[in-house]
Assembly symmetry: D2
Homo-oligomer: 353 residues x 4
């Protein structure tokens, strides 16, 4: 359910409607827009009785949202969500194309710094690297844990890039929230609803990867779990789905980018590294991702891919990433996007959460 406020409604009127909603046992989600505020209503008890809110001061319309996802929907918020970070104009959403790069896993200080220097020089604004790795085998390298997070925090200080890293349970999420700028929820945890709720209570944006066989609606509902707890800064990420096709590790489904943008206000980026699983396919699919309209890329880069402890096959050499950036900048220009340097000062004030 959705309350659309009048264009000239006062803050007090918005507050009044929110209090009424709470008093009925539901949860209000005020979403300020360019011209008016909408208030999403969520809760387990079904719908608010018709007529209860329609006549309150400042209310223009009460809309029953028939889709199962509400806060994710463009019905609730028409303008694109743009996620901003202090000290930089680089964003998720908006005109800027977000470029996230780094190794699959943080393996050592030396390795992490070597990759960070290379991707920063090539223009990456966000540094990725796994400290907690969800590995298929219990006997595989599981990540450096907090030590890895500390190395990433050092990298932020040194190179200015913002840090994105994966949380795999409540304990690691506490630490990721402390050290990183964006919390990543991996594909295998897309329906770990307990973790999604915890991420919804975090004070940092969340990058949510699509599950291996998730439909668009399930993907949206996973984001809805996060938003329903109050964290509206969610970035979606397509990373390939599982099909019968065997020429790539996964089948990258680029059609989901315009599908998401049509129905939701949330930004969506593409991961061509996991999406293909093969180094020689990452650059062509990165070009395609930008051409289709994605809001950014997340790419695996390693200084010595052949010695990587995980996902070496799909990691680019630093010089390949540089070449990728050159090509992607040109495609970006065609689709009306640009890649802002991380050092650029934000011209607009950072939105308070």
């Amino acid at each position: 359910m959705l309350v659309v406020m009048q264009a000239h409604a006062t803050e007090e009127q918005v507050r009044g409607v929110c209090q009424k909603i709470e008093s009925l046992g539901y949860r209000p989600h005020p979403m300020p827009g360019a011209t008016r505020t909408a208030i999403g209503i969520t809760g387990n008890q079904g719908e608010v009785e018709q007529g209860t809110l329609d006549d309150m001061p400042g209310v223009q319309e009460v809309i029953r949202v028939s889709k199962p996802y509400k806060l994710v929907s463009r019905d609730v918020k028409e303008e694109n969500t743009v996620i901003r970070f202090s000290g930089t104009a680089a964003t998720f959403g908006g005109r800027n194309l977000a470029i996230v790069a780094g190794p699959c896993a943080i393996e050592s200080r030396e390795q992490a710094f070597a990759v960070a220097e290379a991707v920063a020089r090539a223009g990456a604004q966000f540094f990725r690297g796994g400290a907690y790795k969800p590995r298929t085998s219990p006997y595989s390298f599981q990540g450096m844990g907090e030590a890895g997070l500390k190395i990433m925090a050092e990298i932020r200080d040194r190179f200015g890039m913002k840090i994105i890293t994966e949380a795999i349970d409540n304990e690691s999420l506490d630490l990721v929230e402390k050290y990183a700028d964006v919390i990543q929820i991996g594909a295998r945890n897309m329906q770990n609803f307990s973790l999604l709720k915890r991420a919804g209570r975090a004070k940092k944006p969340v990058m949510l990867k699509r599950g291996m066989s998730a439909t668009l609606e399930e993907f949206f509902m996973a984001a809805e779990y996060i938003m329903s707890e109050g964290n509206y800064n969610v970035v979606l990420c397509e990373r390939g789905v599982r099909t019968f096709a065997d020429h790539t590790r996964n089948t990258l489904d680029l059609s989901i980018v315009p599908a998401v943008q049509r129905l939701s206000h949330l930004p969506i980026v593409v991961d061509p590294s996991h999406g293909t699983g093969k180094r020689n396919k990452v650059t062509p699919l990165s070009r395609a991702s930008v051409a289709v309209g994605a809001d950014g890329l997340i790419v695996e880069v390693h200084n010595e891919p052949d010695k990587a402890l995980s996902d070496g096959m799909q990691s680019l050499y630093p010089e390949q990433f540089e070449e990728l950036m050159t090509q992607v900048r040109q495609i970006a220009a065609v689709v009306g996007r640009e890649i802002l340097a991380i050092g650029t000062e934000a011209v607009e004030p950072v939105r308070a959460r």
Copy 2:
């Protein structure tokens, strides 16, 4: 890696090999068999150096296991794993066919008792019911939590059935371990490795459901996560996979039953309720599951399916479940299985863990 002890090796010799393995920084997993003991070796540091264990007293052979799963494999343990419960001859694995039945979710004491009475009368040995429900939507009924667990514990006392229920995170697993007899890990959490490790430290058997797009190897590796922490009582459960087919909610992959039985010693049961998502397909697919050789069934039954808070469409009416049991008993006889009453006293001593 796997150490096969001689048939006449003493307990002391087994202990000696285990201590040696630990001193090398690995973890030993002794698996006593009918004629001899095998010791699985796991650990992140790669393989134990060749020649280190071969000449120890009581060692017959040291085998390098090339498959990524070790403890799950028949190479490590040739005989079928049979999971037993105190006070009953009903088992998972062995000649007995395990019959698990109950509602999707515990909704109230009345509903739970009504279903429990019906399924107990029809011959179910295990009662299922969700207290923590992983729902696609944050606005759907999420389960009664501990109150639901308490109702199930009462049902065990009253009807004698053993209790199976799902844990969705570490917190709920603590409680499920306390109240239930078997801990269920759902399909969406099959690769929630953090939860799998916690389940591996639990003192109760675990029923692990196959993920929606999990390959056989990924399914085995998820079980390996549990076993690598020391809990060897794992029951696998096929519940349908995601395909393009739209005449059922999922596509039940019965061929995985003989595939599991060929490669692993773990029992495998089938869930035709989630596997088809349609009430009218549950009985035929239950017959097929037993015919293919499954070690048991897990079936959703509700006293008033049309009023169920979840999965009503796939829940059987009590009288349909009774008819299912009649048919399944006859198929069981053809494949050399039987369904033991839960009241039957165990003739063999319950295996200490």
Copy 3:
């Protein structure tokens, strides 16, 4: 569209309605049932105008069929279709379970006779064998052609089994129609509509295999193509679909058996050989197929599987097929079916087409 005649309608009245339908530019398909006749109406020009047929003598009701398939549907014909063959009580559909067995391809007279003798002795009523093989590679053995068909005709004379073999184009269909008793259309040709139409004009029953990624509706529509040309003797065959799963060659979708039986009057059999692609899975999945309610099995058997020119990996040894028959007979008894010997004289008159 469907005209339901009154129970006591005369043949002349049925003929009258059919003539009226033809005069309107459509095609009538009279389907005599136990108590009344229904007349399916097909044609490209959309629907017959409402009111045109309602008042004709003998007409009880005119029903608009909203499903895209008409002649396939139980709406048009309530009773199961039973396909009979002269000189035997063995059928497709009905109480008898149809058992089709033989090699993937006819390789030589010696090989074919060796397999035929073995499967006949074990109780197969139908002999399969490919004379025209649709092979993935143009450089693989493509079948013996007409020479293979002649060998199969000899086998019918010698062992009494009816012959089923695949046609891959109009030319081979002409010859298959001449020599065989049932024309098989393979999975790769399920949507070769030109071939389906030709099969619809054949005077022999057609076994139609499900395409590798065909939905139930597409499967029905393929059968509708055959029936719309006047050949109502169609047997459907589930042979596994393509999914991500890699422990079998295809994923056998047994849930389609009850789904077909609910919506259609056509018989459906299962091919566990292609459905699994692995010899050791054929017998368990055959048991499951009969248990789920299939109307028959089609199984690959070879006297020397390791020397087979195609599909050796999934072909049973003759003694394995014998064992399969023993197990399947017992399951059949539980589900109210039996396997009639091919020699059995038909007690009912063979239905004229």
Copy 4:
């Protein structure tokens, strides 16, 4: 098997090797390259005995090709295949991006001319339109047949565009070969091997669409069927595959473009209309297809999509197609491609077949 001739080998030497191959009962496929000729050897009898051809005059090397596809492979022909047409510089393969556009089906002279005029003006070099439609339902519009082909031939005369249309069986292929410039084999017929062989004997290039669940290897093997009969002018076409995803009609697998280009010399184009099934996704996915490196696009355009007899939902309005062309030209420039006008005279002589 593959014979690589020396750089200075004479035509007579090439002929000599071909004759030797024939005399051994195999089929030679000479493939002239920029610097040397390679001769592919195909045949059902296995491999030519080692040493038989190595010492013939002009032979540099005899290579055993281990992949199942031979003539399709870059091992046999290193340079890209470029398919040329008389009277124009527009090609499939090479620097030019091939743009194919037109309605799903030819419905009337008026409709076809209206669409043709619009797409020609926007820059399409090839006109597509179905005269024989493989429809899921026998009761749907099946195409105008030869009358439709004649309309397309008129369109070629009037607008200069080359004509591409689908053949669905041997009869329609005879007519398509007579009237059109490129013969299309549809996804449903990708493994109609009988039709592929007939197309291999045609004198016109063939556009082969990927089957709905075809792996890359199966796709290549289907092309190999055509080439093994002597027709080397094959264009591959990605048109989406069948998956569980339901936000589009099919899942467009753009990663197959670089995969094909790595392993094969054949051109590959993309069909974003069938690949998505939704009008609003055609333009973004067209941009992505060009960005990933495809050799062309095939797009459905209709003057009145809402009245289209088939596939109206995915057909662009003429003005949308114009906008698509504008965007695609810019992306093409970034990846080093251009779109040549159909009127442009070919600067190189058209390659004799």
